[in-house]
Symmetry: C4
Subunit: 270 residues, 4 copies
């Protein structure tokens, strides 16, 4: 059983196994994801009954395959966490990001069957699995890893910058609501209307279905629009700095820190 388990583990787990079966398996899963997303999109169209039926069959088939895959991954989870009991290993593994996304992705179909709840829309999160496929292929791994690593490293700074932006959006909401509520009572109904206005304006999307018409409102609108230039620059600056720092680190690693003081022989890291 253990040998079989180890074999299944090597195939199933998104690791750098390069042998044929693993690769075929990976491509199979990616194709299923693509087909499934296609089905989810087609489901939103008016379709003849035959086509609808075919889509249902495809969808059920993919969910079954995903469920089998999920179960097999849970089963082989104890190989990853050698120190834990099988049960704890599986529990830990079930709460990793990848496994949680897969759960969200296959659960809707069962919820519909058992509890008649329609959360089919959550099926679209299966699309996120596509990134795990790319992380396997060595040729792609560096570029995509770089993007994710920069994000992980700067996550706290990015969170704070978005927090600052959102705080200013809330302040802008109340101020604009107050300025426009008498002139446009149906448009600016309450502070949440103000919040919708400030989010859409400060992100510069600017649909045009809600905007100030009073003088004070326009002063506020102009102020926060100009402010948005600086606000949007913060995440951009953080991420740019992140990419540049990472390029530095890669240069350092490549060189093997060959910078040393020849006099005393001590290493001088850059």
């Amino acid at each position: 059983m253990t040998a079989l388990k180890k074999r299944v583990y090597k195939i199933i787990q998104p690791r750098k196994s390069q042998d044929l079966v693993s690769t075929v398996f990976d491509w199979l899963i990616v194709s299923l994801i693509a087909i499934n997303v296609f089905v989810i999109v087609l489901d939103t169209f008016e379709l003849p009954k035959t086509l609808s039926l075919i889509l249902r069959i495809i969808d059920v088939t993919t969910v079954v395959i995903f469920t089998i895959e999920y179960t097999l991954r849970l089963w082989t989870a104890d190989i990853i966490y050698k120190n834990k009991t099988p049960f704890k290993a599986r529990l830990t593994y079930a709460f990793t990001f990848l496994m949680l996304i897969d759960l969200i992705a296959i659960l809707p179909s069962y919820l519909r069957l058992v509890l008649y709840i329609d959360l089919d829309v959550l099926r679209i999160f299966r699309l996120l699995r596509i990134f795990w496929f790319f992380r396997i292929k060595r040729e792609y791994i560096k570029s995509l890893s770089t993007i994710f690593d920069v994000f992980k490293k700067k996550a706290l700074s990015l969170f704070f910058s978005i927090f600052i932006i959102f705080t200013l959006m809330v302040i802008a909401s109340v101020l604009m609501y107050n300025a426009e509520k008498d002139a446009q009572p149906e448009v600016f109904k309450n502070a949440l209307s103000g919040l919708w206005w400030s989010v859409i304006t400060i992100t510069t999307v600017g649909y045009g279905e809600i905007y100030p018409i009073t003088a004070m409102g326009k002063v506020l609108g102009a102020f926060f629009s100009i402010l948005s230039i600086g606000l949007i620059a913060i995440p951009t600056g953080i991420i740019s700095a992140g990419f540049i720092e990472r390029a530095r680190e890669e240069r350092m690693n490549a060189k093997g820190n060959k910078r040393f003081c020849p006099y005393c022989g001590k290493d001088v890291e850059e």
Copy 2:
């Protein structure tokens, strides 16, 4: 009295005191701010009289607590500025950014009571106090400090870049007003209409309720839209450079400037 004062000072002041009472106090204040913002937002909805009354009580309570806190902070201000007389110390402290924001935040409730002026909308500025809370917690302090420090360091450059952008907005206003005033007299009523157009366009918000329809107007519109790409790039570039320089400084400080010329022993800073 002094021992009591010192104790109050340690609790009240947003410093790095890590003992239990200070921490409880900080969390209490943040909760009050959150509750208060929630009240300000709910106030914009149509509510049954009972709920309105409850909100009024909550609002009054929080204002009383904020006032007590403000007074206590003023009282303990002379401990911060040891060199000044108590009065001067309190005056200086009252004009710091944090204290001024708190004043703007608690004043409306009193203005309404005493002078019947409705500036309740200014209560939303209490939300800015949330940043001082985050600056205390050591885990968050580095990320948030970095963002604020980069802003402080580049403040003058940012001011000038916004000044340049605004100057070009004013020029665009007059030119566009002149181009469109005959074709759209109700939309482009005067130079201020032109200014509203140019702010909303150059920040790329582009609501769509005011835009050029003449040939000359469209040429100007296209010109300033393309120009906005370069203009918006300036603050972004300044802030990106700021983050990268700060990352450098932190690297230098971490190393302790271990770069020296072994020959003459003199420090060579990077």
Copy 3:
């Protein structure tokens, strides 16, 4: 024949030949491109028959000249690839980016003549030839090369960042379609309507002809609008880092890597 071929080669090929005939030829081609684009634009207007006829003659003339030039370039292709047989050389050359663009550019006129297919709109791709002209002139070559080189180097990272952005757009499509389909059935007809909404919103273009009106839709809309700030920052950060790395490389090349360990004489590259 070979001497003639070599002469033609020196003139025709967009190389750094600086003699008079080559330069005259380059400017001639650029003028023809400009004239041709002008003709393509004018073709979209209602014009008197005489002017239409003149434009037709100009267009035919330019196509004939471009065809002759294309043929001559194919003919002299075997000089570029000395190792290959003339036929293979020409085949290889015919599939380079420049030659393919030229093919797309002259094919429409022949398709119309022979097969009566109207793909005249593809004529506008001749405009891309203008970049090859700029790459010749030494004064411009560095600036324009820098931009193209940074793009080539970061191509894979950029592709992945756009891929990530598009994946999130697809997820947003299905979620928004699901949220708005009951409230706005004519606007959000199917998942493709949702995709149009998410592309136009996440790129912050925000025309305003499609937007959420339900509470859930607005929550989604606000979430993805704020997310777009971070998403758009990724390509910007990648490209900024690219320009800075290239500036470093140019500094290193200029110095000739004059950084060495005086102790052992070994090169220490920065």
Copy 4:
């Protein structure tokens, strides 16, 4: 006469003269510019006759003062270019950027008087003079200079990036016109309508008065909107790199290039 001329020169020319008269003169000119811009803006409103008259008098006064200043600057121009004849010096000086802007700024008033041509709108360019004032004050000079210097250094790269963006806009115009001309003949009248669409979309302003409604049009629209993310990143990346390089240069200059190889004493510039 020469002593008087030299005195006038020191006052009039926007140089770093710090004496009282020069400073007073600078502030006087800036005040006049501000007043004049205020007059230009007020001129766009409907005003009672008395106010209109006052504005006319102010405007005439400022124009007279600007003309006197312009003439005095021309007069003292020969001190700047000591090598040239007075006439050549004045001619050269008259064609510098600052003097040309001043000419555009004062000419309209004379054109209206003499030729009855109404180019009053050009008066707004006087506002650009405000930058020369800031360049004088030492406290501001570094920040503002940095912005202008980065722009000057990267001018060619920026020009090319805008050129690339505009070329793609033209290609998008013709493609979108072709896709939408049958479905929206009144909106997409000709290729210039397409150009207006592509400029407003690729700059992400997106007013919403012109947009694709056909499937092909939406595919093109989505493509160019996503492309705009990368296009807008180019000038941003160039400018960010510019600011970072400049920060490096300032660090190098501050240190005096203290990096040398201690073994052979040869300078190793960073």
